[in-house]
């Protein structure tokens, strides 16, 4: 362009790197400034709903808001150093994330607690029915809602 407009004879080896350098430097500052604003927008987009902590957001993102209060209820009943097992419809990774430092036991390892959310095997239902006759302190199954259970293993 310089050659055409101003009759400057700029060799390729100088012209291309210089043009690239001018363009990049000219764009660098406004790009960084724009990035700061864009990042602010992304941060705002990730904002939490009122009353939801940063880990519970996982359930909100997967449209399982119902699991938030259930896991809060479970967290109050499982000691922080206990291991649990889980079967259910709530996102399993979100459940583990929310319940840390309680650890979901490795497959095949014994767990002190079992959590059921929406899927309850028949033997557990039978055990729940059998325990209705027991005083609350003697029961090993606690019920949060329909098919939302916490089982303490002996």
């Amino acid at each position: 362009m310089l050659r055409a407009l101003l009759h400057w004879r700029v060799p390729l080896r100088v012209g291309v790197p210089t043009a690239a350098a001018v363009v990049l430097v000219a764009f660098a500052v406004p790009s960084v400034w724009g990035a700061m604003r864009g990042l602010d927008g992304t941060r705002d987009g990730l904002l939490l709903a009122p009353g939801i902590n940063e880990r519970e957001k996982c359930f909100v993102d997967t449209h399982q808001d119902w699991a938030v209060n259930f896991t809060r209820w479970v967290a109050k009943r499982i000691p922080t150093d206990a291991e649990f097992d889980y079967l259910g419809r709530a996102d399993p990774v979100c459940l583990q994330l929310v319940l840390f430092p309680r650890v979901w036991a490795a497959t095949g390892d014994p767990a002190q607690y079992r959590i059921y959310a929406g899927i309850v095997p028949e033997p557990v239902r039978a055990r729940l029915r059998a325990e209705r006759r027991l005083p609350p302190a003697s029961r090993t199954i606690e019920r949060y809602g329909r098919d939302l259970l916490l089982v303490r293993e002996p």
């Binding site: 210089t18 363009v23 941060r43 997967t62 650890v103 095949g108």
Partner: protein, 483 residues
């Protein structure tokens, strides 16, 4: 207060270890005028070293513990620093002399530092996005909680398949260490560390290239890369940017090794490429691709070939522990089709449309202004360098390395067996372009100061120099802010 102190202490340890390692490699002399400009490279190298060793440690069943790590890092930094001191004494009198840095040198450094600090502070309470909640931060919290690879997240036949058990572990391990140091398992801390790593990589490249008074010119493409749209992945806790950071530092160190024949560059190259390979699966492919290219460019110089071979061996060594763990605990449902399936001509022919769409997506992002036009600028500069035979070997290495990385991505998309392949490519191409983008920025940061300056000052092109007389490095004096 404990949180901030823990965050600073962890990074100070990484910085100290990195300085010790770079000093033992002969790249930094044990004095402030030499160490200060190397801070970015030292931090990136230190984090890479801590990361790859910690991954091997947890795979070996060791408990990740802040006190134990501190002890090991302090000893390693002291030993490597002592080696550096001995080397420095032997080469007494050859060190750089202090001179006041020009504004063209320290202003871009200050801008990168301010940008990084602002992002660390602004991101300290950022909530967890989907990928981080299911993969990176979830694993970091698990490792911080148990100290190792325990529980359902790392179990055989795990129910948590969306956590991708086979994904490399460096980011979660660094996050877990940070949580242990700060005694808080807060996602924002991990995000802050990713910003620190980005800032360190941006400072490392001009220092590795010895940009000196032309640091402003080297910093411009790096600033564009940092400002490009993939940086939003940091806020989401994705591992693409940290992998790209390690990759670009490793690639530039490798290029410097080829350019100057200085063996010292092998250390940051090996550690950072190893860290990239331990951060994401594609990082392993990219690192191997760059090493193969480096072999090709070093073939005529036996000592350099041997050094590149040593770098490749070191990368393999740091990658093996996690691959062994995956092999022992798998098979896992992965994103990558095994070669036994993908090399079938019929399989490839049936999926040609995937290759077409994948390459279209990648090229579309490269040409998108939101990605800083770094790739078109890099291609123009590299071709101009090749045609004009100035820094042509260096330009050739970066060009072939870049193409190899893009072709590797194309291969992954070509052979992918994802059910919604168009959606998969569209979603992931936004992130997977990060590594080639950063590579282009690193190449421009290396090439532009050489090509724009007067030819008489430019060093000889070692990569195309005669094999019997390898070119000696041409170093400009370092200044305190030439990082």
């Amino acid at each position: 207060m404990r949180t901030e102190a823990g965050f600073l202490a962890f990074n100070a340890l990484a910085l100290g270890l990195g300085l010790g390692l770079l000093s033992s490699a002969g790249l930094v002399r044990p004095r402030l005028a030499s160490a200060l400009p190397a801070a970015g490279a030292a931090l990136a190298t230190g984090l890479a070293a801590i990361g790859v060793v910690s991954v091997a440690a947890v795979v070996a069943g060791l408990n990740l513990d802040a006190a134990a790590l501190t002890a090991v890092v302090v000893v390693a930094a002291a030993v490597s620093g002592a080696v550096g001191l001995l080397r420095s004494r032997r080469a007494a009198g050859l060190g750089p002399r202090w001179r006041r840095p020009a504004p063209a040198t320290w202003v871009p450094v200050a801008v990168i530092g301010a940008f990084t600090a602002a992002q660390v502070i602004l991101s300290r309470h950022v909530p967890i996005a989907w990928d981080a909640a299911h993969i990176w931060t979830a694993k970091a919290v698990s490792i911080a909680t148990t100290g190792g690879l325990d529980g359902q997240l790392f179990s055989e036949h795990s129910h948590l398949t969306t956590s991708h058990q086979d994904y490399p572990l460096l980011e979660p391990v660094l996050g877990a260490l940070l949580f242990r140091f700060t005694a808080v398992t807060r996602h924002g801390l991990l995000i802050g560390e990713l910003w620190v790593l980005l800032g360190a990589a941006m400072l490392a490249v001009p220092w590795l290239c010895r940009s000196g008074d032309r640091t402003w010119l080297a910093a411009a493409p790096l600033a564009l890369a940092a400002a490009a749209i993939p940086n939003q992945g940091i806020l989401r806790g994705d591992a693409d940017v940290p992998m790209a950071c390690f990759l670009v530092v490793g690639a530039v160190a490798l290029a410097r090794l080829l350019e100057t024949s200085e063996r010292g560059y092998a250390l940051p190259a090996a550690l950072c490429l190893g860290a990239a390979a331990n951060t994401k699966n594609e990082g392993l492919v990219f690192a191997l691709a760059l090493l193969v290219c480096a072999f090709g460019f070093a073939l005529r110089r036996r000592p350099v070939v041997l050094t590149v071979g040593a770098v490749a061996a070191a990368v393999v060594v740091v990658v093996v522990p996690w691959r062994l763990w995956v092999h022992a605990h798998g098979p896992f449902a992965g994103d990558i089709t095994p070669l036994s399936t993908s090399l079938d001509p019929g399989f490839l022919t049936d999926r040609l449309s995937q290759l077409d769409f994948g390459i279209q997506q990648l090229l579309g992002h490269f040409a998108d202004p939101a990605y800083g036009w770094l790739v078109p600028a890099f291609l123009a500069v590299a071709v101009a360098a090749l045609l004009s035979r100035r820094a042509s070997g260096l330009a050739g290495f970066y060009l072939v390395g870049f193409l190899a990385v893009v072709l590797a991505l194309g291969w992954v998309y070509w052979t992918s067996q994802q059910p919604d392949i168009a959606g998969h490519i569209s979603r992931t191409a936004l992130r997977t372009v990060t590594a080639p983008l950063f590579l282009a920025a690193g190449a421009l940061a290396h090439l532009l100061p050489q090509l724009v300056q007067a030819p008489a000052v430019a060093g000889p092109d070692a990569l195309t120099g005669p094999p019997e007389a390898p070119a000696r490095p041409v170093e400009r004096p370092q200044t305190a802010a030439s990082a």
